[in-house]
Symmetry: C2
């Protein structure tokens, strides 16, 4: 079974780079990557926060947040 | 041809997590991941720096640095 990975972003240039280079480079046979734009899906900001996400872009793999570079703090997206 | 990716780390817990979860999750059919421990290979600190790496752990994909969470600044490894 493939693991679920969530890539949270906000459409910023740093986010797009991380998505194109890192998130899409994950092994698709092992991971299902869901891409969530927090600027467009504000309802999911609380979910990101509860997963430990502090800024975007961030990958959450097996419940663990990995912040990739720095685009924007989560507080800017509320 | 597979792209080369370098994962720079320093053996810290944050680094190990990022290696196990993110670096090893990259599609091995598309990427060759080289793992460099900068604490053990101090000669490569200058290389990491020239690639734009500011802290570890970091992935360099196609010449672009992606800092994943924060373990240690590069300056601590010189």
């Amino acid at each position: 079974m493939r693991s679920n990975v969530i890539f949270f972003h906000a459409g910023c240039p740093v986010c797009i780079e991380a998505e194109q280079k890192v998130a899409l480079a994950l092994d698709q046979s092992k991971y299902t990557v869901e891409v969530v734009h927090l600027g467009q899906s504000k309802a999911r900001v609380a979910e990101a926060e509860s997963l430990g996400v502090k800024s975007v872009p961030a990958l959450v793999m097996e419940g663990q947040p990995f912040h990739i570079n720095f685009g924007a703090p989560l507080s800017a997206l509320k």
